[in-house]
Symmetry: C2
Subunit: 224 residues, 2 copies
């Protein structure tokens, strides 16, 4: 439990943010006066000031991000790399930069409200069992669509999945050596397809993804 293992955060901010209907990619939108991504990197920095942070951005957005870092005097050290066509490709092409025998946390750049304790739970469990992903309970009654319309299901048997998703780097590389399939909506799904069991840990309910304009309002409320 105390073996020293390098921890790396791979923060994926590949999206061009078209759903926001602003010209600005959603990872650059301001949340309490700072671009969303700066909040995200800050949480990982607060979790472990010595950890390596790799930020994946669309190639075209890299100059804008560098300018933002200068303008805001952003001091948290990180490497910047270019993403691919989809989130899957953004992770896949950058795993070559990750050494073997370390733990890598893949995190959505647009989840600035992940808590330090969620990150800590993920790494602690991944250290013991090889992987861990954060989840929360389903907040409402839930139905499953069916041929006859829909039917109620037991929501307590389901979980909503968040990031960071933490994996042994070798397992993650092996998983991402596969060809892309459309059911690969998160890293856990890619790893699971090789037959690995995924370990769930408790996330934090504020850890929402900034996707729509109202998400930014909600995130602002959570930060108050």
């Amino acid at each position: 439990m105390t073996r020293p293992v390098e921890k790396i955060a791979l923060i994926v901010a590949g999206g061009a943010g078209n759903r926001m209907k602003t010209g600005i990619p959603k990872q650059f939108l301001l949340l309490k006066g700072y671009p969303v991504l700066m909040h995200t990197l800050d949480v990982f920095y607060r979790y472990d000031q010595g950890m390596r942070i790799i930020l994946v951005l669309p190639e075209t957005e890299i100059p804008a991000w560098k300018r933002l870092c200068e303008d805001y005097g952003f001091q948290i050290g990180h490497e910047i790399v270019a993403g691919g066509e989809t989130r899957f490709h953004s992770v896949k092409r950058n795993l070559a930069k990750i050494p073997d025998q370390c733990l890598v946390a893949v995190h959505d750049g647009v989840r600035p409200l992940v808590s330090v304790s969620t990150i800590d739970r993920c790494f602690a469990t991944a250290l013991k069992f090889g992987n861990a992903i954060p989840c929360i309970e389903i907040p409402e009654t839930m139905r499953k669509l069916s041929r006859k319309g829909s039917e109620q299901v037991d929501r307590y048997r389901y979980r909503l999945i968040q990031t960071p998703q933490v994996f042994d780097s070798e397992v993650l590389k092996k998983a991402y050596a596969q060809e892309y399939r459309k059911q690969f909506t998160d890293d856990a799904g890619v790893v699971e397809s090789l037959g690995y069991t995924i370990n769930l840990v408790e996330g934090n309910p504020e850890n929402i993804k900034i996707t729509y304009p109202h998400d930014l309002k909600v995130a602002t409320a959570f930060l108050q």
Copy 2:
């Protein structure tokens, strides 16, 4: 489609709000300066100023609510009735007050952000097909707990369910004539257990249930 049918809102605010850890029941907490319940009643009033609104409160909270209505000069007409032990019992004991051949919208008192258009969609579909409930898509990757841990499921085949849930009053009464079962987590489940097909319509994402303190912050953000 144009047959005139009486529409009634049965607003259930039976909870004592212990999860809020305030002394105040959550339906009385202030949202933008007004008790949550006043916002809720106001949306139904804006949907149809002539509709009958029946408010179900814990017996012990009725005097406090009447005082709030006086203090805030709350003008929207409504009947106040006492609830039962659970939400199921609160609905069941008050259905006797609802005439046959009308449409009744059962709504959670702590969902003040339901939109007029969600209410309208529910009534319009229930008028045609006998019932309608609002739903939204699942916002995240989802997993189902299983013997081996968990497995990813296709979230696009599921929906989160909201209120108001609108039914032909006779069907609702027949459904609530049943004994309570623990899987009856909403009205649609009670009606469905008699073999009726439930019709889904689009809800609105802001239509959250005020359950935890952070929900109040989120609701405030949505109202801005």
